[in-house]
């Protein structure tokens, strides 16, 4: 019943507070909301995790199937990320084929995982050129309260950490499943950190009210050694070069904090 559009009065209030280094929900400028992670809740899936970032809630499932490799990469397995902005998550989501927002979300999450080489796709080959494992990562947004990217990326990482593959052997061209499971070989742990720019000021982890008044957003993904592995700027506003560098510095630290919640060293 309620429209999600931010009232002008609220937009002014948000901008005013931020100019004084405060946010409407009492957070520091560079603080994430409270994070809750639960893994393995969907046993049908090879791996799964649910992330709550404040009130934003995302469920990620990993399914591993056998399939054919792409013709240009015959000796590599396949990784594919899909995101669903299902209507129950927000009055602004409509049922139907993925729109540009769900496609962008999927591709940004994909970029972090792919570019950091988190999943060694040459480990996923069963029969070179003929049969490989296809890793499906499905991001399911259950409640949208801002910053779907960070929640989804963290959920994808947690789901991958949780993922188990069945044991198998290839006999006479046929794949025979053996008893037992082994964890999916993960070589890296990418984490995304999203900044929003409001009134010239950068903040981390915008929630819905802030997203509605922000000029633009900048997402940066970091792999486990602190290197940048993906970036995405969104929205109609702009960032100065200094802001981009500042975001990279802060983001690296924030990514390490988030990563520690999923991966115990």
């Amino acid at each position: 019943m309620t429209s999600i559009m931010a009232a002008k009065v609220k937009a002014k209030r948000v901008a005013q507070l931020i100019a004084h280094g405060k946010r409407l929900d009492g957070r520091e400028l560079y603080s994430h909301r409270e994070v809750q992670i639960e893994s393995g809740l969907i046993e049908r899936a090879e791996g799964s995790a649910r992330v709550r970032l404040g009130k934003t809630e995302v469920l990620v499932g990993v399914k591993i199937e056998m399939g054919e490799p792409f013709s240009d990469t015959p000796n590599e397995g396949v990784l594919t990320v899909n995101a669903e902005l299902v209507p129950l998550a927000s009055p602004t989501f409509e049922a139907g084929p993925p729109d540009e927002n769900s496609i962008e979300l999927a591709r940004v999450v994909d970029r972090g995982i792919r570019e950091s080489k988190a999943i060694a796709t040459d480990d996923l080959v069963i029969e070179p050129g003929k049969k490989v494992f296809v890793v499906f990562i499905d991001v399911y947004v259950l409640n949208h309260d801002g910053n779907l990217i960070d929640a989804s990326a963290l959920g994808a990482l947690a789901a991958l950490v949780n993922t188990k593959m069945f044991n198998y052997e290839v006999k006479e061209g046929e794949v025979k499943i053996k008893p037992g499971y082994k964890p999916l070989p993960l070589k890296n742990h990418p984490v995304a950190v999203t900044f929003a720019k409001i009134n010239g000021q950068l903040i981390v982890d915008p929630w819905l009210e802030e997203e509605q008044v922000m000029d633009a957003r900048l997402t940066m993904a970091f792999e486990k050694d602190g290197k940048l592995c993906a970036m995405q700027k969104g929205g109609y506003g702009t960032f100065t070069m200094q802001q981009v560098l500042e975001a990279a510095k802060i983001g690296q630290q924030k990514a390490a904090e988030l990563r520690a919640l999923v991966v115990k060293e």
Binding site: M1, I42, E43, R44, E84
Partner: protein
Amino acid sequence: MSQKKPEKLIDENDIRYDGRKLNELRAVKIEVGVLGNADGSAYIEQGKNRILAAVYGPREIHPKHQALPDRAALRCRYHMAPFSVQERKSPAPSRRELEISKVMREALEPSVFTEYYPRTAIDLFVEVLQADGGTRCAGITVASLALADAGIPMRDLVSACAAGKVEGRLVLDLNDVEDKSSDGADMPIAYMPNLNAVTLLQMDGMLTSEEFEQVLNMGIEGCRQIGQIQKEALKARYTAVKEAAAEKEEETEEEAGEE
């Protein structure tokens, strides 16, 4: 993860392979009011089923031509997550999902006072996060609670349960493996317990008239049990608020007494 299919689904002592008796429901857990944005919501775990329902409305209807002049249009979308089933399912709606969306809507419509809100839409979304047979029934059970949680006036809660035949014996609440067994029958039922009204009835398989009557009775009894669980879950959601307030009242009374 793959499932091992057992040799026999029911043994000589009439115990099912998952340990249940013939007329026993799977373990059910329900939570009401789980989503922040939806006007009403509820979540159910029934055996391995994990299903989420949410309601938005009554709200303005888009597209306008779907508006009804004398009541709210109840719209329902049943959808399965790609990771909810054994073999990953494409997110695009299948014919099965479209049919289930329709029968679910028809199962819930009789319970809602749509005539109070003409020209609006009441939008119901049911997402199956993990499936193990009987998802349309569990979906109706939890959708009905989502409607109540949204404060939409209703004639009764709708409780749903399936009954049928497996390996020659009449059983309650079939799971996926039992449902897929050959020579059986599966009959999903939705029922408004206080009004003795059946709002959904479907069947796959073959039953004699005697078997049918027995299965129907078993199913309706299952619906009643589900109805009890629904009521408890709904009350639990609102008792928490009431109790928190009552506790505060006690605290301050004590303080006042001490002075």
